[in-house]
């Protein structure tokens, strides 16, 4: 920070002075009129002292002197410290602090050019702090902008480096893809156009958190609709790969493998449209076994694997699991059972024949 000179503060200000021979009353009226708290006292053009409000109180009023008859020469502070106009404000403030005064006459050579107060110096200091704060803020913003620019460049470059992602720039945001997308039916916030713009503008975090990134199932209904012939699902897939790289995870409830019953037949591997399943060797209870493994970030939770599995070892979570769907079905079957149930003959083991009658399983 640039230090300011004392001379700069007093420059352009009127110089208020009183003469040694003036009465205290005149001086007090003069000071009140011009709103100054202390004035230099001159004698024949020479600086001989300072007269301040403090002097008035301690040396005139407190002693019961008559202000009208008392001359300034009797009551002024004659031992005066001065400061050169070329001095730094900080030095002047240090001097005031040391001498316990609040006003200093400012000289250029031997000429009196003004009077500087402690308040002046404090204002200079506060202004300096403000300037400094603004500077820091501006620098900070510049750095942030620069950083954002870097993120943007980096994200777009990385997006274009992934096969399929290179067309992102061609999107002019017409939104035709959104109109033809089926995903809107189950996820109204789904918007491929917006996601592409997020990616192109380098909004990495927003793009990666967007559900759109994870919900595109590459059905490609938007592809023939796009006037720019962008293969949108490829662009979205490229964004997804970047998101996975950045440590984000899918928002879908993806397929789960029950490793204890999986026999690694590979039917799910063959049928998965997203190549998200592979056979992997794992150690279960100390023994090496091959089981199916789902790459959660590529699984779209369509359930083809669950339908193809012969041992129900691969399943969708919760609402679309075999159990949930069939429980729903059987509940309805029970409620709407119009016909009487047929007799089911239960073979009773010989040893159980004498005991309690077998209850129908229901």
């Amino acid at each position: 920070m640039e230090t300011r000179k004392v001379g700069a503060i007093v420059k352009g200000r009127p110089v208020y002075v009183v003469q040694k021979g003036d009465s205290v009353l005149d001086a007090a009226r003069y000071m009140t009129e011009y709103g100054v708290e202390a004035v230099p006292v001159l004698d024949d053009g020479r600086l001989v002292g300072m007269f301040a409000g403090r002097d008035l109180m301690a040396r005139v009023v407190a002693l019961g002197l008559d202000p009208a008859t008392t001359q300034l020469g009797q009551v002024m502070t004659s031992k005066v410290a001065v400061v050169d106009a070329e001095s730094d404000c900080q030095d002047a403030a240090a001097l005031m602090d040391r001498l316990q005064v609040q006003h200093l006459p400012v000289l250029t050579g031997r000429r009196l050019v003004g009077c500087v107060s402690l308040r002046d110096l404090q204002e200079v200091e506060a202004e300096g702090a403000r300037v400094e704060a603004r500077f820091v803020e501006e620098t900070d913003t510049t750095m942030k902008r620069k950083k954002m620019g870097e993120t943007r460049e980096a994200l777009v470059d990385r997006l274009r480096a992934i096969p399929g992602g290179e067309h992102a720039y061609m999107c002019y945001s017409c939104g035709t893809c959104v109109g033809s997308c089926m995903m809107q039916k189950v996820e109204p916030s789904y918007n491929a156009r917006r996601l592409i713009q997020k990616a192109v503008r380098g909004m990495a975090e927003e793009a990666f958190k967007d559900r759109t990134t994870w919900l595109c199932s590459a059905c490609d209904l938007c592809y023939p609709a796009c006037p720019q012939q962008i293969h949108i699902s490829d662009v979205l897939n490229a964004v997804r790969e970047l998101a996975v790289e950045a440590g984000y995870h899918t928002v879908l409830e993806t397929a789960q493998v029950d490793q204890s019953t999986c026999v690694a037949c590979g039917l799910c591997v063959a049928i998965c449209p997203y190549e998200a399943i592979e056979l992997q060797e794992v150690r279960i209870m100390g023994r090496a076994r091959t089981v199916a493994h789902v790459d959660a970030n590529h699984c779209m939770a369509c359930g083809l694997c669950a339908a193809s599995c012969r041992s129900s070892s691969i399943e969708l979570a919760d609402s679309f699991s075999n159990e949930a769907l069939m429980a729903d079905l059987w509940q309805w079957v029970g409620e709407t059972q119009a016909v009487p149930a047929i007799e089911v003959e239960v073979a009773v083991p010989a040893h159980a024949a004498q005991s309690a009658p077998v209850e129908a399983r229901e």
């Binding site: 089926m182 359930g303 069939m326 079957v333």
Partner: protein, 143 residues
Amino acid sequence: MTDAWTPRIVVFQCQFALFSAAEQEWMDTQLPPHIKLIKVPCSGRISPMFLLNAIQGGVDGVLINGCVPGKCHFKEGNLAAHRRLDEFRRLLTYLGMEQDRVRFAWIDVGERGRIRRELAGFEATLRELGESRRLVTRVPLAV
């Protein structure tokens, strides 16, 4: 068989198959009680075991409602469903039942109103076929 008899129908429906929101709402809320809607993420999710469950539960017909081939949300789920469930239909003949008890309705985006016609047509077919009693069991199958 009396006139009061109505066939029980289970509809397995791909959640993307009906593009019209009004139609989907009708399916969700206003189906008659003898028709059961089970929504699945994709028609490819429908395992033959689901159909077997339905038939063993005494359901008279199963309607598979998916998207037209080439417009599957999951690329080729409906083709997988068709392969798999068509095989199951042929198995029904082998078991002494009518293939027509399993019907497909591949519905395109523009075919508004078709699902109601399909359901009505299917119901008429089932009325001709009569009750499905052959594989009925009282115990839910393990899936």
